[in-house]
């Protein structure tokens, strides 16, 4: 079945729709041990949906998902936690798996939030909470890490350090990473494979392949916030609102 022993999760022509509206369609990709696969694309292009398909959160999907590991760490893009729960950082760390104290401390130190261990989760700032989320995902030493914009709200220097950490974890644990990121610089420096989404797979390949793309060169000097909104390929189609496709 799994010819390549290194494959952790594989999507074959996968898609998901809610109320007859496709969120994403026809996505094929695979994440292997020790490799980082990055999803890029504009807002509403189906990046988070693709991650949730890979994780098995969405079950009624089109196409196929093959998952070869159960040791998964997930950092969701949005997380709404009900504050009727009394929950400290320490309790949150052992949410899905019991861990030794030293391992919890190590993970919290790596993301720079060890001093918050006994704080109530509801009292953290957005950036602090994001660091806790990342610490929780890596602490269980997963085989597959799914990181949906893992550094949102983190300060600039912290952002660089966290991306370096993610790269190091991928090497040290030999775990596969499915990363969703808006930061093209990170994508280009650390990723093995880039998939550009816009309701479907627009293009994919190594960062070099994508970097050779003329449009990519043209936008490389733009302000980081504008990079993705201006990101265009040589299309045989144009995108209308809501990611619909219109043939030229």
């Amino acid at each position: 079945m799994n010819a390549n022993q290194n494959i952790l999760v594989k999507l074959k022509d996968a898609g998901f729709k809610i109320n007859d509206k496709w969120l994403v369609q026809g996505v094929s990709l695979q994440v292997e041990k020790g490799k980082i696969v990055t999803l890029i694309g504009p807002n509403g292009s189906g990046k988070s949906t693709t991650a949730k398909i890979a994780l098995g959160i969405y079950k009624k999907i089109e196409g196929e998902v093959e998952k070869y590991t159960n040791k998964i760490g997930y950092v969701p893009q949005k997380i709404s936690i009900d504050w009727t729960l009394p929950l400290r950082v320490n309790d949150f760390m052992v949410l899905t798996e019991s861990l030794k104290n030293e391992i919890i401390d190590e993970a919290l130190s790596l993301t720079g939030v060890i001093h918050l261990k006994d704080k109530n989760l509801g009292d953290l700032s957005g950036g602090e909470f994001q660091r806790v989320l990342l610490a929780r995902a890596i602490s269980k030493k997963p085989e597959l890490l799914v990181l949906d914009e893992p550094v949102q709200g983190v300060d600039f220097t912290g952002e660089i350090a966290l991306y370096e950490l993610i790269k190091r974890i991928s090497d040290e644990l030999n775990c596969g990473i499915l990363l969703i990121s808006h930061d093209l610089h990170t994508v280009m420096s650390a990723t093995d494979h880039v998939v550009c989404l816009n309701g479907h797979v627009c293009c994919s390949g190594t960062p070099m392949d994508v970097a050779k793309n003329n449009e990519y060169k043209a936008l490389f000097g733009e302000q980081a916030s504008q990079i993705l909104s201006r990101y265009e390929h040589r299309h045989d189609h144009i995108h209308t609102d809501e990611g619909k496709i219109k043939k030229n």
């Binding site: 949730k52 994780l55 997930y74 997380i79 729960l85 009394p86 929950l87 400290r88 949410l95 899905t96």
Partner: protein, 267 residues
């Protein structure tokens, strides 16, 4: 010093409090208090069934409550009515049907007040066995599903993504809710069971900083409520259920003062 019946009621109540403590925390965390009410109201049907068929009350209440829970899940899938409307529909219609059936059963002497509000005189040695054995099984199962249930209470997608099977845990928890109602109905009465679940847990929320502590304080609160309530019940000849719940309310009010003091200290 005490009559036998009082010792039995005390032992029964203590057994119930050990189970309602942790379950009550989940009822608060998962916002299930109205769901608990619905199951409790449907218990009246279970009781009437037990009397007509000469069947064990706890077992028949457990079966009927589980059926109502399953019906609710099916209705949620098949209609567009909001969840609370469906809960209300099931709660009041099963209560009404139960009362109508009782009206027909003129040949059996019914103590309606005892059913609705609990009757410590009615606790038998068999009931003690059901409460302690049943309660131990409920707690054991809850311990087994704790991780997926708690993780999905915090965040469903995290639990699902990391392979904990939250849907199964939720289904099992629903059965546990039916079971706790079945074993505590004689003590607290079907109108007040939800109070026994949520008031000690709400008290515990006010004074705890971690989920484990909330569970422990909730159990302690439940135990104190049962002991205080039953002594009051004995002293003033009041129904056991309302006396226990009033004691729980008293503890809850005390826990509010605790909060005010800690806020004052912070400022």
């Amino acid at each position: 010093m005490f009559d036998d019946f009082f010792i039995r009621a005390l032992v029964a109540g203590i057994g119930v409090a050990f189970v309602t403590g942790p379950l009550g925390c989940f009822v608060i965390w998962r916002r299930l208090s109205y769901f608990g009410d619905t199951l409790a109201h449907s218990a009246l049907l279970g009781v009437t069934l037990a009397f007509t068929m000469e069947f064990n009350i706890a077992l028949s209440v457990f079966i009927i409550s589980s059926l109502i829970a399953l019906t609710l899940i099916q209705l949620q899938k098949r209609t567009n009515l909001p969840g609370d409307a469906l809960l209300g529909l099931l709660a009041h219609s099963s209560l009404a049907v139960g009362l109508v059936v009782i009206g027909f059963l003129t040949f059996i002497r019914f103590d309606i007040m005892g059913l609705l509000f609990g009757d410590i005189l009615a606790v038998t040695v068999d009931d003690l066995l059901i409460i302690w054995v049943g309660g131990a099984i409920i707690l054991l199962i809850l311990k087994l599903i704790w991780k997926p249930l708690f993780a999905s209470t915090v965040n469903y997608e995290l639990a699902e993504a990391e392979g904990l099977n939250p849907d199964r845990a939720k289904a099992i928890f629903t059965i546990l809710m039916a079971a706790i109602i079945a074993i505590s109905i004689k003590m607290v009465g079907l109108l007040l069971i939800t109070g026994m679940l949520i008031i000690p847990a709400a008290m515990a929320r006010n004074i705890s900083s971690s989920p484990q502590r909330m569970v422990i304080y909730s159990i302690i609160g439940g135990l104190l409520s049962v002991i205080l309530g039953l002594f009051t019940s004995l002293e003033f000849n009041t129904s056991s259920g309302p006396s226990i719940i009033t004691a729980a309310l008293f503890l809850f009010i005390l826990s509010l003062f605790n909060i005010k003091q800690s806020i004052k200290l912070k400022n």
